[in-house]
Amino acid sequence: MAEEPVTGAEGALHVPLSVDVSIVDDITVVSPAGEIDYSSGSRLREALTVAEDRPPRVVLDLSHVAFMDSNGITILLLTHKALGEAGGWLRIAGCTSPVARVVQLVGLDTVIPCFPCRQDALGA
């Protein structure tokens, strides 16, 4: 599912992000794969936009995300806010270690519930 690496806007080589969206038990499951940064962020933001055809309850499965920087943090916070206003919520699952680090730095886990894996997040 991962695409060929391309040269991004800064001339940097990074793996583009692919995002899978599915609906399980009336919960939207968003599973990005790759790196979340300035250039790929918009794709993730699109997938997390509150939409008519998707329940506003979202589990974001980050187990295939190798890297996330402050751009990703902003996206998650905005999503958290938007989903809350739409009567839903955001949960994070499967933070890999680089992602966990930035989540803890910012204290994101005090704002958005984090779970070790998707199943836990769905079941909670």
Binding site: A12, H14, D69, V106, G107
Partner: protein, 734 residues
């Protein structure tokens, strides 16, 4: 054909006006009849001859029967014909000549003629030769027709080749004059409305005559040509001296030695009058069939030449118009590109003035209304002197009521005049002869004018006026965009300036160095911020933070954080409560507040007894502060969450002492998240190892960091702001 009629003869128009038609050629040679002459005896006495013979030899009025042939026609002997007659008489052998050339007529009236003829012996009853009979057919006309055809073909070729009309007409006139010796040819060309005739070609007529005739009106009784043009029919005047059509021109004709004039109108294929073709003679004469046929053929050819010429002119004019339109379009496209290229407002208007000069006019001035006053913002001229004169023209003059700029500003309507502007100004020195003043209007409001001035070397045409209005329209749009951009950029700069400390104040026992590098330019305002301010208890507050996002909204958020901190620090006892206050401020609904997520490090420092600084700080979701000591770098990992999301974020307070020459480094993630060409991030590890390796005294430490970052990214622009604050405890002596 013999007499000279007093009344001009009006003959029917030629049957065809294109190529020499068969009718004309028949007229040229078909009518010729056989000539017969009977001679008797050794002296070739002329016994009998038919009228055609006498006509052919040009002795029509003396029917000279009974004379020896060489007395009747002395010219024959020298040409060998008498010798031929002798031979036939002597030998009894007939002689046949084909296309034999003979010069007939007396010395001063010779005409060249060609005959197919036979000399045959006349015999008596006994078979003895008694004389010679001549039977012949004149082939002169055929010869002439052949030559005519050849000439005609040459002319048609010239026309096809688009030789200049003058050349064609002159060549035609000369060819006809050669074909008919004694005839003088003139071609006149009608002007577009068919009311006047102008000189076309008349190679043999005197110039004074041609000049006098040039421009005569077409009309009944205006000479032969005027009448022929008016009637669109051939008109013949065999005797100018007695003819009423030549009233007023008789002396002129007499001076030019012209006695007869036959004129054939030249008509286009649509019947339009193109001109006249005139044949003049020096003695009164009426035309014969051959003359009329000749006139018909050449009038037709001339018509072709003239039509071709007019079509060519029309085509060239259309091409010129099209080219002018293309040039206009190219000018406008270039103008638009030039105007939009520059986003600076005043440069856009200067560009307008220079675009208009000298392309549209030698002088151009652009005025705008600025805070109620009219101001000349751009001037362009072709010389330095003119430029200064125009630029120095006082804008006070705009207070005059009779001033084009004022009027156009008021009405929004272009004003054009073929005189200098009335108000005071350097119009005489600049030799101004006219002006166009066009409005610069945007959203219905005229905010300026562009004035073009013409001088006595140049003049406006109406399309220049249209062009300047179009350019003015495009400029108004470009200027609006430029102004908005300039205003926003100015706003951004002001905001930025308001956000950042202009100078770090003098601090007791401490030194603060800062680094700030926003990612965007112009409109983009950074989301990074820092501040240092005094506290009531003698200590100082310091902070560095990062708003998630960019642009004007991020700017208002950074302002909110800084001002809130400054405001509440006087009332709240410690960093944590101040940070919570900031958090509450962030959570309050604001106007167009998109996001107010803020990461922050906020702390207080006070000089410690015995040197160094005591520091209490709170880290709210921000990068870990780094404690730089001589033995290494320590990361301060205190807990604390990002602000602006929850009402009661978990926060902790960290405490540390900075010994003299130790530093605390705060930085934003724009530094650690910048990427190199391969996409790898700078990272915290690299930063720490860099700081550990190189022991520098501050502020060199910051230079070290920023230099390393710059080298790492290869100088390429990043997408995030970068900021750093280095707080160093100073030693007593510094």
């Amino acid at each position: 054909m013999n007499s000279t009629p007093q009344q001009p003869q009006v003959l029917p128009p030629p049957t065809s006006v294109s190529a020499p038609g068969s009718g004309d050629l028949r007229a040229l040679f078909g009518e010729s009849s056989a000539v017969i002459a009977s001679m008797t005896g050794p002296t070739h006495l002329l016994e009998a001859a038919n009228p055609a013979f006498f006509r052919a030899i040009g002795r029509q009025d003396d029917a000279r029967v009974g004379l020896p042939i060489d007395e009747l026609m002395p010219e024959l002997a020298a040409q060998g014909f008498v010798a031929l007659l002798d031979r036939v008489y002597r030998t009894g052998e007939p002689y046949t000549g084909r296309d034999a050339r003979v010069l007939l007529g007396a010395a001063d009236q010779t005409r060249e003629a060609f005959f197919d003829f036979t000399y045959e012996p006349r015999r008596d009853a006994d078979g003895r030769v008694t004389g010679v009979r001549m039977i012949g057919v004149e082939t002169t006309q055929i010869k002439q027709a052949q030559r005519l055809t050849a000439e005609h073909r040459v002319l048609l070729e010239q026309i096809a080749r688009q030789a200049p009309l003058e050349e064609v007409l002159e060549g035609m006139a000369k060819a006809i004059e050669e074909l008919s010796p004694g005839m003088l040819v003139s071609v006149l060309l009608a002007d577009a409305d068919g009311r006047h005739l102008r000189h076309g070609a008349a190679p043999s007529l005197p110039s004074f005559y041609n000049e006098a005739i040039d421009g005569i009106a077409t009309g009944e009784a205006v000479g032969t040509c005027g009448t022929a043009a008016h009637r669109r029919q051939r008109v013949v005047v065999s005797d100018i001296a007695g003819d009423p059509f030549w009233e007023g021109y008789r002396d002129l004709a007499a001076r030019a030695g012209l006695a007869a004039c036959w004129s054939t109108p030249i008509l286009g294929r649509d019947g339009r009058l193109l001109g006249t073709f005139a044949m003049y003679h020096r003695e009164p004469r009426a035309p014969d069939e051959a003359d009329l046929a000749l006139a018909g053929v050449f009038a037709g050819t001339a018509g072709l030449a003239i039509e071709r010429h007019l079509a060519e002119e029309a085509r060239a004019a259309a091409e010129a118009r099209e080219k002018a339109a293309r040039d206009d379009l190219a000018f406008l496209l270039n103008a638009s590109t030039a105007l939009s290229a520059d986003l600076d407002y005043s440069q856009t208007l200067s560009r307008l003035a220079s675009l208009c000069t000298p392309a549209l006019a030698p002088l151009c001035a652009v005025d705008v209304v600025d805070r109620g006053r009219t101001r000349r913002v751009a001037v362009a001229a072709t010389t330095e002197r003119d430029h200064q004169l125009l630029a120095a023209h006082l804008s006070d003059a705009h207070a005059e009521s009779d001033d084009a700029v004022t009027r156009v500003l008021g009405t929004g309507v272009t004003e054009v005049a073929r005189r200098a502007p009335r108000g005071p100004g350097p119009w005489r020195e600049l030799r101004v002869t006219g002006y166009v003043c066009a409005p610069l209007t945007e959203r219905g409001r005229t905010f300026g004018t562009v004035t073009l001035l013409s001088t006595d070397d140049h003049d406006f045409d109406s399309h220049a006026v249209t062009l300047v209005e179009e350019v003015a329209r495009r400029t108004a749009t470009a200027a609006r965009n430029a102004r908005q951009y300039t205003q926003r950029a100015t706003l951004a700069r002001d905001l930025q300036a308001g956000l950042l400390l202009p100078d770090i104040p003098d601090l007791p026992g401490a030194e603060v160095t800062t680094y700030y590098h926003p990612a965007g330019e112009g409109l983009d305002i950074g989301g990074d911020f820092y501040d240092v301010f005094p506290l009531d208890d003698g200590g100082w507050a310091f902070l560095l933070g990062d708003v998630c996002g960019r642009g004007a909204l991020a700017a208002t958020t950074t302002a909110l954080v800084r001002h809130t901190a400054r405001a509440v620090a006087a009332y709240l006892p410690d960093p944590q409560s101040i940070v919570r206050a900031v958090n509450r401020a962030l959570l309050q609904p604001h106007g167009n507040h998109d996001n107010g997520f803020v990461t922050l490090v906020y702390g207080h420092f006070t000089p410690a007894p015995g040197g160094g600084l005591d520091i209490d700080l709170v880290r709210a979701g921000h990068t870990y502060p780094l404690h730089l000591t001589r033995s290494g770098v320590r990361t301060l990992k205190s807990d604390g969450s990002i602000l602006g999301i929850m009402p009661d974020p978990p926060l902790t307070t960290a405490r540390l002492r900075l010994a003299p020459e130790q530093s605390l480094l705060l930085y934003t993630d724009g530094i650690t998240e910048c990427r190199d060409a391969q996409g790898e991030q700078f990272g915290e590890e690299r930063l720490i190892s860099l700081l550990e390796r190189a022991q520098r005294r501050p502020p060199a430490t910051l230079d070290l960091v920023t230099g390393a970052v710059h080298a790492f990214t290869g100088g390429r622009a990043g997408t995030d702001d970068q900021a750093a604050l280095l707080l160093t405890a100073t030693t007593e002596s510094t």
